[in-house]
Amino acid sequence: MKKKLVSLLLVVVMIFSLCACGKSKETSTKKAETKAPDATTEATDDSATKTDTSASTLAYKGDLGIMHFSTSEESQGNGGSDGFRTTIASWEKKNPDISLKQTVLANADYKTQIATLAAAGDLPDVFLLQGMNTREWVKQGLVLDMTDYIAKSPYADKYDKSKFYPFTVDGKEYAIPALTGGTCTVVVYDAALWKEAGFDTFPDTWDKVKEASKYFKKKGIDTIAFGNGGKWQANSCFLSTLGDRFTGPEWFKSLVEKKGAAFTDQTFVDALKFTQDIFKSDVFNKDFNAITNEDAREYYISGDAAAFIGGNWDVSYIQATLKDKPLYNNTKFAVLPQPAGATGDTDSHNIGLGYGIAINAKLKDDPEKLAAAIDLAYTLTGPEFANYVTDKYALSSVTKVDNLDLSKFDQFTQDFYNYSYVDHKPCEIYDSLISSAVWDVLNTDLQSMLNGDISPEDVAKNAQAAYEKNY
């Protein structure tokens, strides 16, 4: 009897949970469906006026595959994703004879999947190439050389050529930078709290930050929230910018082009040493190595930290979450303070376009299909996309936009636009270049180093060994 009761209970619980699953799925697909037509109509309005020229000039009929990571969930808060999806939808509409086969995965899954497909030599016709894979995949003959197509592009004169660097090997360009340019290192801070601590703006040296941390400690909150639980954050959102302050941009360029620079160079070791010291001081939340950036930004949002260091993806989340809350108007942006002993630029931040639209080298044998793929690449990176993300989100992409009216955006968006594109000096994002094999080794060691378990010299030595072996 008892058994029967228990099993009945279990069955009921199971049925309920199944129902719940089913329902939530239904609503989510519905949401996606209702959202998509919306977006397309909007886009066609736009495109009808702006880019009518390319319509129906393509001879190709049939399937064209594309793989990307702008999922419908992602596009809710991320301007680049929204623009990407919208532009794809409008291209599809303009080319009814081409059936575009999209494979859309979340970013983390995309990286694994595309690497596996590359390993199998079975890449999709059109895909997003990550800067750091360029050299290896080009060596493998997987990626089409797009130099001539880029030169012949109808928008060639509007391209920001500096953004092509991660996709250039030996003077040849293999992708058109895609999505939106975003900073990977930004200090997001609560201006009201810092004013309380005696700073009108975010301090420009770390010593002043340490001074402020005494005040915040008394208040019972963290000075700066940071999350390195995924191991990549300390590299992408801290060291990549801080390293530039110590080494200057030439060092990294030389490392990328194999012109003699090494991880073991004193300036880089100094940057590592400084990183270790600053994380040892009380400036950051104590659990920085155990939580992710998603957790850390919640510390900021909930007021448990006076500032947060992260990337543009964190800022778009913070913006969406804080809207209509008092903290929204107090949130300001700053570059990393300058470390003592650093001789490089004082206001650099690492920004770029990490992915580019690339085309499978196999398409060379099918000129009509290739023309279609190239046209898709032009469209996805061209003015249609650029205008959309600039008008709607104040984001910039590889194609320059002539007239941007910032005044229609709120202060938060304006501030972040100025932070990203106007006020500060750009530097390279480390892990957009070189090779994942090097960064994986460095990131793992970096996490131990921040705990004080391995010395900066050893971190540099291991990274150099991985660099020599894999690059």
Partner: protein
């Protein structure tokens, strides 16, 4: 007599064909191809360079791989003691006459092993959380606020801390096996032992353990095999960190193959995992055989 109801050989073969094909496809082919790829310098893509045994030479000198192996062995020991040992004790407690609602205990004890390891990892991640976790909250509550730690960032503790969810998850699984082993023994034996004046501890050690020894040894083999392939909940909780302090072999192989895109060396690691696991499981089975033989002689 037996032959008349025995199906024809080809019928048996046909029945077996599908599972065998599935097994060959899912286990043998990947194993053989991994073995093949492990002789190449292959960073993904169509170009591979044959480098003979170089990958294996690297593997033998690879500290991270052997540290990971050590961590797997640690998990094996922790889980043999934690999972099977605790399961045995809990079963004895449930079987005692004093405990009510036995079926409920059994059902809920088995619950965690039905949950995906990823969820288990996430649940325990919240448990260990520095600011909002129950563990630190409890320490504060009992006045030991100075003992609070960023638990998963402690290189010396992290292996123990990730072993605990694993133990918690699978206690119920071994409980069920042990319960069925005990219930298949004639209950009169336990009654006689009790009448003869053996206390609970003596009954457990001198009566129950010898009677279910074979089952316990099967449990040990299962436990070893299960822990050599530990991956999911560690991937969720620490990603092998801090540094490589909670790295296990499967996670390391995954990292090399996919995060570092070094398919050739990744394949060599898989083959390495296959062989060291075979050795460990083989060693345990050898021990098991020795132990059961002893019993046969008596």
């Amino acid at each position: 007599m037996l032959n008349s109801i025995r199906p024809k050989k080809w019928v048996i073969a046909l029945y077996l064909l599908f599972p065998i094909l599935l097994y060959v496809f899912a286990v043998f082919i990947p194993l053989i191809t991994a073995g093949f790829y492990s002789f190449f310098d292959w960073k993904g893509g169509p170009n591979k360079t044959f480098i003979g045994l170089d990958n294996y030479a690297t593997l033998i000198k690879d500290d991270v791989f052997w540290t990971s192996f050590g961590h797997n062995i640690y998990l094996v020991f922790a889980c043999i003691i934690g999972q099977i040992g605790l399961a045995f004790i809990i079963v004895l407690m449930i079987n005692s006459r004093l405990v009510k609602f036995k079926a409920i205990h059994r059902t809920f004890g088995f619950f965690p092993s039905t949950i995906s390891a990823v969820y288990i990892g996430l649940i325990w991640l919240m448990f260990y959380d520095y600011k909002r976790g129950i563990l630190n909250w409890f320490l504060e509550l009992i006045g030991k606020g100075d003992q609070t730690k960023v638990w998963l960032n402690e290189p010396k503790l992290v292996m123990l801390l990730i072993a605990i969810p694993l133990i918690w998850q699978f206690i119920g699984y071994y409980m069920v096996i042990i319960i069925s082993a005990i219930s298949s023994v004639d209950q009169e034996i336990f009654e006689v032992a009790e009448l003869d004046g053996a206390n609970a501890f003596q009954r457990a050690i001198y009566v129950i353990v010898p009677l279910i020894k074979n089952t316990l040894l099967v449990c040990v083999t299962l436990c070893v095999a299960g822990n050599m392939k530990a991956f999911d909940h560690i991937f969720v909780m620490t990603k092998g960190g801090p540094g490589n302090d909670s790295m296990v072999m499967a996670l390391y192989g995954y990292k090399i193959s996919f995060a570092q895109q070094n398919m050739g060396y990744g394949s060599a690691i898989s083959i390495g995992i296959f062989f060291v696991s075979l050795l460990v499981i083989g060693g345990v089975q050898f021990l098991v055989k020795m132990l059961t033989k002893e019993k046969g002689e008596i």
